[in-house]
């Protein structure tokens, strides 16, 4: 199919509409639309964009859409892809926002929200568990995790400062380790 602004927008709008229950479903959705149906990119390329999108800051779905859109049609493609991906989310919330204030005082809704508050904690727990298995796997990462957790719980340090500090520490630690390994190789 032709790759133009409108067709890219339409494809990502479709994916954005189906993107329910968190971003991790985006990979199978994009594979079916972009790789299998449209044959715009290969599955290897898509996986690489997704991995990069997850390693960079920001919303993974948006990062992946921007990478893919750029590959398809440069900056224009990136704008089409990210707008298409985000628009369904935006429209759904605007519609709900009007509804929200009208229904929030109904007892049944409040009971549901009380219950769902528990569900959110369960989902959070699962997210932490999954992040933990691929983020904390040596002494260095355990130290970073512990210090960052204490700093965040204290409520005294702005979160961006915690992120920037760990980023800088990570860069220097990697340098130190690389140097140590070079020395080992020489001996």
């Amino acid at each position: 199919m032709d790759k133009n602004f409108y067709s890219i927008f339409k494809t990502f709008f479709k994916v954005g509409t189906m993107l329910l229950g968190g971003g991790y479903v985006i990979l199978p959705l994009l594979t079916s639309e972009l790789v299998e149906k449209k044959k715009w990119i290969t599955s290897e390329e898509l996986c690489e964009y997704y991995a990069l999108g997850a390693a960079l800051p920001g919303i993974i779905a948006a990062n992946t859409a921007i990478f893919t859109g750029r590959k398809l049609l440069g900056t224009q493609g990136a704008v089409a892809a990210v707008t298409g991906m985000v628009l369904p989310a935006y429209l759904a919330i605007i519609m709900l926002a009007y509804l929200f204030s009208a229904i929030v005082n109904i007892p049944a809704i409040q009971y549901i929200f009380w219950g769902v508050g528990i569900g959110v904690i369960v989902l959070l727990f699962l997210a932490v568990k999954e992040m933990w298995t691929n983020a904390v796997n040596d002494k260095f990462s355990l130290v970073i995790y512990s210090v960052a957790l204490i700093a965040a719980l204290s409520g005294k340090i702005p979160l961006p400062i915690i992120i920037i500090t760990s980023l800088v520490v990570g860069i220097f630690w990697q340098k130190y380790e690389d140097r140590k390994n070079v020395r080992k190789d020489c001996e």
């Binding site: 960079l56 983020a135 915690i162 220097f172």
Partner: protein, 179 residues
Amino acid sequence: MMLYLQLFWQFFQIGIFSFGGGYATMPFLYEIADKFHWYSPSELTNMLAVSSITPGPVGVNVATFAGFNSGGVLGSVLATTAVILPSFIIVTIVSKTLEKFKTNRMVKGAIRAIKPAGCALLTSVGIKLLFTSNLHLFGTLILIALIITSFVKKLDPLLYLAITAAAGLIIGYLNWIGI
């Protein structure tokens, strides 16, 4: 005017500093709830539940919601754009230097440290939620039961929300606790 600038700046920062996708935006969203009162922490929890049954990434959903709550339609457009804009800039830079980016040792070190830090921020949100929600005895029991069973078999995220929503309705109507 000040409000719009603040909205833009706060959500722009989320776009820059949240690593690890979806839920990684939560620590920042709770921090904003504390600082600006555009929405309350309990509204945010409701919002997170709502956003798992509406299309789109959680971060975008909450940005739209917070923007709309505090600054109407214009606020919602600004906040949503602001949360995406850093992605646009960063991805553009990275895709131009893709090969270098993948093998760069500094990038490797940064990512190695940011992953556990992001995980720690998320943990802190979980701990704070645990202590600030009115779970009562029933809620605590449901939470423990769901977490234990998740080790045996992890259900679909939507199913956890459905189960707890039903539990909330039953407990609420039986009037076991004053919600």
